[in-house]
Assembly symmetry: C2
Homo-oligomer: 295 residues x 2
Amino acid sequence: MEFKQCLKERANFIENILKEYMPKEEGHQKTIIEAMNYSLSAGGKRLRPILTLEACKIVGGNEADAIPFAVAIEMIHTYSLIHDDLPAIDNDDLRRGRKTNHIVFGEDMAILAGDALLNYAFELMLSTSINKENPQKYLKAINEIAKASGIYGMIGGQVVDVQSENKEISKEKLDYIHNNKTAAIIIGCMRAGAIIGDATEIELESITKYAKNIGLSFQIVDDILDIIGDEAKLGKKVGSDIENHKSTYPSLLGLEKSKEIAYELIDEAKKSIKLINKDIRFLNGLAEYIIDREY
Amino acid sequence: MEFKQCLKERANFIENILKEYMPKEEGHQKTIIEAMNYSLSAGGKRLRPILTLEACKIVGGNEADAIPFAVAIEMIHTYSLIHDDLPAIDNDDLRRGRKTNHIVFGEDMAILAGDALLNYAFELMLSTSINKENPQKYLKAINEIAKASGIYGMIGGQVVDVQSENKEISKEKLDYIHNNKTAAIIIGCMRAGAIIGDATEIELESITKYAKNIGLSFQIVDDILDIIGDEAKLGKKVGSDIENHKSTYPSLLGLEKSKEIAYELIDEAKKSIKLINKDIRFLNGLAEYIIDREY
């Protein structure tokens, strides 16, 4: 099967499991759950859950065991977007062509819906793990997600990103932001999937390197698309980084050099998973897709 | 030892372990960690962590095993206060006589500091549990905390509270708010402590009933103190519920009937732990303290 078709099918699969795992919009909690599900069902590439399941499968694990983790990681990603969009942070009215959460549900509900999604992600991972045969393995996997989404991961990157607004920053600081705001969660979800799949140390190390490299490359491509991308395809305005005087790979190193680095990282990613003795075609395809994507 | 002295010593013990477990204010994350620790070190009764440890101890468990959970529960309580105080929710400038988090660190950092505390609470519980002898027990305990703080617990209560502002609500709805916004976390932290302490089913049931009763009574007393309390002792303005047209126990049932119910709940709480064959003096004292407190 062609890679793009395969990616589409997996994204559809994720859409279905998301629907299945979303809390029911009923009872006293109706409104907050509507707010959670509104953003959770807003589409997107669903890369993180796809990578969670693939990491589990590629080391010989049972994909089904990783499903609650795939859902949880998308909930965490979604909560971070809801809070990012708030008036006090990025003040965005549109996301993926739809009104942002606080525009539809109000700022108070958007704050609480974000909190609720983060909390629910843990509820889901924990409640589905307590009766498993190897509870320690699941504790380890949940721990990977928790580390990746906290102050030494995603939130840490987001904070420095917020603090760097309208400031020229060093490449070191930019790398810190990209590695934490974006790559940490990609690393965390793939490590969690691999741990659930009983990865060997070597497999876990290979997958970690792959995730780190595609994560940074993904963010550099985002920076590039904000300059040369097609607004219609991206579903958002381009040029916002320049408008906000944001330091990016292109602003610090130029467009050509940025592309070059993005390609090198993808090569590194592909190299690192060669050690895995399984069918790595999907992960190779995904690495190439990340750099060739138009949105 | 007199109960009040004992409570004070335990609160001091909690202050010390909080300091020990707080993340270090260094690196790129310095500001966000300062914001987290600012609110975490703002004092308060520390009831939830005290109850976590006592629940573990009273069933014969090793208190030390529950310490990360006691810290985590106070982090979750603190994050909920930071987000409650935000301009979009309660818009409070002062909390426990100190400026609220967003006044000191800005609204963006306060949102992220709240997120970070919730996430860090899970990081702490998970990372300290992965190498324990009985990982399933710890998974169950973390799951109790996660359930208690989510949409079917604390957040659920908070949402309905926000939605009920300036509205007359039914006693059923008020009970839902009190039971979820306040009691759920008290139940969750005591159940987690008891599970870590290897409670029997009967002990767990007794502790759950105790927590449920003191939790609701605690909130009714809060409602009462907002009418008859001493501002200096409370460290906050009284009369805010009336000012905000908030439905409370006194507004729905009158002051005397509310006191009566609060006392009945405390009696129920004390009755429910009689089944535990251990030294229950501290929990009895605490139940009485909850109703006799002046702040």
